[in-house]
Symmetry: D2
Subunit: 382 residues, 4 copies
């Protein structure tokens, strides 16, 4: 193993030396990875063992009209992907939504969670600890507060099983996605609990948080921001732009998302929400592993008097506009495109995520319904 | 809306013009996004409305010794992330594994699925269609084969509910991830079924596939490659490198992944498998939305005579070494680093994914267990 | 503790003595429990420590017309319950179905499962064991066959995680529900595997069976009999008998079973299938704990040209017409009422279960939809 | 169809006439069903179309020592089943628990839920309705209160998806299981919401309740009573009575309940909790269909200094000691056996359920572990 592989520096020279060591070690030349155009120090807090960057193609969809509480107006939205046809499809959905007067998108809950797990002596001890927590929520809040200026402990929900005691702690985390903040605060909370109750902290994350695992507790209670988005598409708009009737789109959604997802024992029921979330998260410096819980979206379609009503519920939009990858050069530009860089912008970003997911769902369901129609036309012509 | 936003071209000039239109439209300058260093034509099949790239920091972990059927030897593995501390953590896991003689990693099943949904008249009709499919599997296979030279229809599993009929079609797809191949073949299969049975195709994807949604059917039956990886870490190695005992790591895994994930009603039970998968997928041009099903990993730890046995089961490793984003300049370099670019390499890549996930799991569980120990030490010192 | 509590006999005198001991021990008189009207020896294989019986009210629903493969004609069906209004409701559903020409009900799959779990050395050993099983399925079949004249091993599906290896064994079990048969055969199969592969049996049931636990693997793959039942109710019949329109019933099913169950992260999506299954199982001597997996029913409603199409899919109808509680005096009479006592009747019983569940679903969904209508009428009148 | 089938009366004469009509209609004689020993009028509110009873064998387990908050002392517990060996097995578990000083069993939460679903205009309307509910919880409480003297509305948790709005209403319901009470109160609450917000009630049960369907929301939030029970069994007791070591039982629980249930995508992870719950519910006049959610039990085993620690968490113990089937002659005797008939006894009954489930789990896991030991012994002897 070449010495350079052990280089711990973060300057461009360090990155270059390390990459050369990798090239030597693997026998592979890495000119494109090495052609990063920003100073690696900008990523010093984002990665270790850096050797360059991977350039992911970035495009846009829109203009997309959104009538949100925080996101209001027409947006040109950046998305990063390597899956051909995705942006074209989402873009059609944006076009339909905008032609329909825009999508509503609202944040209805906002809390980041961390759930430490403790070893307790037995069930009675668990009950005691839960009682202590309930009586001392103010002390826990203080302990959390001492670790952060932006976060605030909202609630503490206990779960007890045998000698394991879990406490799902919910925080408001300002404009940060908030995992780190919540983790640090939860450690402080946990140490206080240890000291006062005799419970022993086993892990600051007991998997009832739930971070980056698909879990029903998150789809039920939400994590990060719960976002609702919807639109009513006039029949004429749908037929002209998507060549599908409201009836056909509603049927597709019914058989595919309604019944199909239930049979598959899915968490959430949608067409391909993860696609839009992944492309938005990569573009804007969010954590792409949180696409996992982000994907548990429920999509509904109904025929209404004047056309098609379509909606999405996103139970776990975990986004930030400060911290994490948001300050990286390309990512901050992408956030700026939608006016979402920095303080006070996280709810706006979440609403945009909701509206873009709606656009993607609408487009894909309509395309599949149109395929059906197309076939129907063919069969009529036989 | 500026005219440039409607530019459909894919040359560098087109991309530049389009980006300028976006800059004008949003009032935001995009120099970093625009500083892509490869010819946009290389991404012509990967994205529409391209305006540049997002540069995601890329680092490496390793050397990681893997004793797989396809991946054998020491690997320096590329990972792309914006989450600080992730690579450092995974790297520690790699170090532990390598010092323990390497990780076993094997592919035990390999099939990509697509599940069209049809409208049928009623339950009896569904039974008839299922019967026809069973009797005519060879004709379906021919219909599929006519659309692809690399794919092969392996099986067709029917699910019937009321007037909805689903057919989960499984394909071998060579070294491609295979979704497109499977989709095109499934359309051909579906049209034959329509013609012969009177069932009407509603959607080529009826959500029993299941693509990019967390669903139990996938964790049970697998999608893409099912990978098993494991390692036995000698006690001395674990204590020296991770400052944790086998007992403490096993307890952390038990309370967190075993019980915690069950209480949370999770699909899979692991520490943070999605992190490793996302970082590997972005680095190597895989579809990051497939991290969703990739995340349903089961991680186990047991104390054994000579130390800690740790394992992961990945039910849905959906990767390719040809097609998709694998031919993009940075991504193909990343694949080359691990000798996984091109034909004949997909199983090898899947085994590397398994081993890296194992490394990340081992590291995080050990760190949490060590925190526990650390605290124990502190409390002893009080 | 009175001596009588230890009485192990099974005669009426034994039962009486034991009950008197319980009366003495608890200070409670048990005349009704003691007034059982059959010879306790008839229950010798059904219970231990018997002190009498609990009399559960038994009624009937019907006549219910069923157009099944095995159940064909009009049936008067016994149901046992203590929940007032249940039978009246199911009876209305029967009336609607019969007036609509009857319900289709068919068995589309039939296999009882048992899944032993073994300890193996590691993942590679698991792969070896799985390979051995695949190559020696005929020997496993012989080993199973040696334990039973009615059962037959159909297939063996392996699942491996770390040092745990599971084998989901599927059996045809004739007219018995088949759990005991499957368990005994699986022990024989397991011993052979132990002997030949070095895997160590940890439990003959590794919870991938899955008996009496709600689990997605069962709803996906089925356990016992998968039954589909459906009916098309003419609009006039629905409106006259249920005071509800097809549109209102379909909407109720959509919002309640379709979306509501998905949000609740339910396995299955129905109104109250468990009610019908429990009442039928108790009446006919089935295992009431298997209502658990029986409850994972999918109910669908659609408006069709001529009225309402309603269907149910029951993935786990685990019933027998021989063995278990079927030979008890009251239970065998109940089975006789529907011509389902003894050999060759299990599929018929399963079809009746399907049709009765359909009746109950139809009735409850209609009643709720009518409530909605009723309210609408009231509000119109304001 | 004979006229008697339409007989609506509830006297013994009515029941007899009806049964004769059924006998005539089916051609089957029903002497045992007809030999019920109590006056059918006692069941007038429990069933319709009554023709007799089904006698289910009733036995007991115990004495079982319980150290609960409400159940304290030694209990002889009635169970009704037709599954041979069940009571013998549970009885062994009781013996082990009692010899270990008894089981702790405590109720940690108590609330019955009903979740009506409303049609709303769109997401914004849903948000408005949710806001109105939050601001007017006192009015909702009054509306609920007007319908019941025993129930009290505790909280109202909103869930919104598109044009569907769900409100999970939680009630304390005294000693009744409380479904009817909750349903009636929820209708009153719903009508007030309809009047004030323009939301339209679609069903008083929107399947987020969740009654008689296995659903993660219930295992996470609980329904009815959440009960924790545990025991520490000294090594000598376990080995003497169960012929198993703590290590073997813990391993069986780990591979079967821990990993097996996770792989099966189960809700809950236990050996056979449903068996005990079903047998207790049938004996004591509870609703046997609620075994479904009752079954989502988590069982844990750990080796501790002095032996084996075993625990169960029951998230949904839905029991009453007044109302429903509790006043039927045999059932009220069964309740009396454990001092649980009437007012003030529901928590006690729930604790007994917890302890008996623990006994059954302990026994089955030990038996399977002993099987393993047995085999080990045999192999040692080879």
């Amino acid at each position: 193993m070449g010495e350079g592989l052990k280089n711990r520096g973060r300057s461009r020279a360090d990155v270059d030396e390390r990459r050369r060591a990798v090239e030597e070690s693997t026998g592979v030349s890495l000119p494109n990875i090495g052609s990063m155009t920003f100073d690696p120090l900008a990523a010093a807090k984002n990665i270790e063992n850096m050797i360059g960057t991977v350039q992911v193609p970035l495009g846009f969809v829109g203009p997309l009209r959104i009538n949100g509480d925080h996101a209001a107006g027409e947006f040109v939205v950046p998305m990063a992907t390597t899956e051909g046809a995705l942006l074209a499809s989402v873009n059609r959905g944006c076009s339909v939504i905008t032609a329909s007067g825009g999508a509503t998108s609202v944040v209805v809950k906002d809390a980041m969670t961390r759930a430490p797990v403790f070893r307790v002596r037995d069930s009675r001890h668990a009950v005691e600890v839960a009682g202590w927590v309930e009586r001392n929520i103010d002390r826990l809040r203080e302990a959390a507060q001492a670790t952060t200026s932006h976060g605030r402990l909202l609630s503490a929900q206990p779960f007890a099983v045998g000698r394991s005691f879990y406490l799902r702690l919910s925080y408001s985390t300002g404009d940060a996605m908030g995992m780190n903040m919540a983790t640090i605060a939860s450690e402080a909370v946990s140490r206080l609990i240890e000291k006062e109750t005799g419970a022993v902290l086993v892990s600051v994350s007991g998997n009832l948080c739930v971070d980056k695992k698909p879990a029903a507790i998150n789809s039920v209670l939400g994590r990060g921001k719960i976002v609702l988005a919807d639109v009513t598409v006039p029949r004429a708009v749908l037929e002209e732009k998507m060549h599908a009737t409201p009836e056909a789109v509603a049927e597709t959604c019914f058989r595919k998302c309604g019944i199909g997802s239930s049979l598959a024992a899915s968490l959430g029921s949608n067409a391909h929400a993860a696609n839009m979330i992944a492309a938005l998260y990569i573009a804007t410096g969010q954590d792409p592993a949180q696409v996992v819980e982000g994907s548990m979206v429920t999509t509904t379609c109904e025929v209404v008097d004047d056309g098609l009503y379509a909606s999405v519920r996103l139970p776990c939009v975990e986004v930030g506009t400060v911290g994490g990858g948001t300050r990286l050069p390309c990512q901050s530009e992408a956030l700026s495109m939608i006016g979402c860089l920095g303080e006070g912008k996280a709810p706006k970003l979440a609403e945009i995520v909701g509206a873009v997911v709606l656009a993607g769902e609408l487009s894909t369901l309509s395309a599949q319904a149109a395929g059906q129609l197309g076939q129907a036309h063919k069969s009529l012509g036989r």
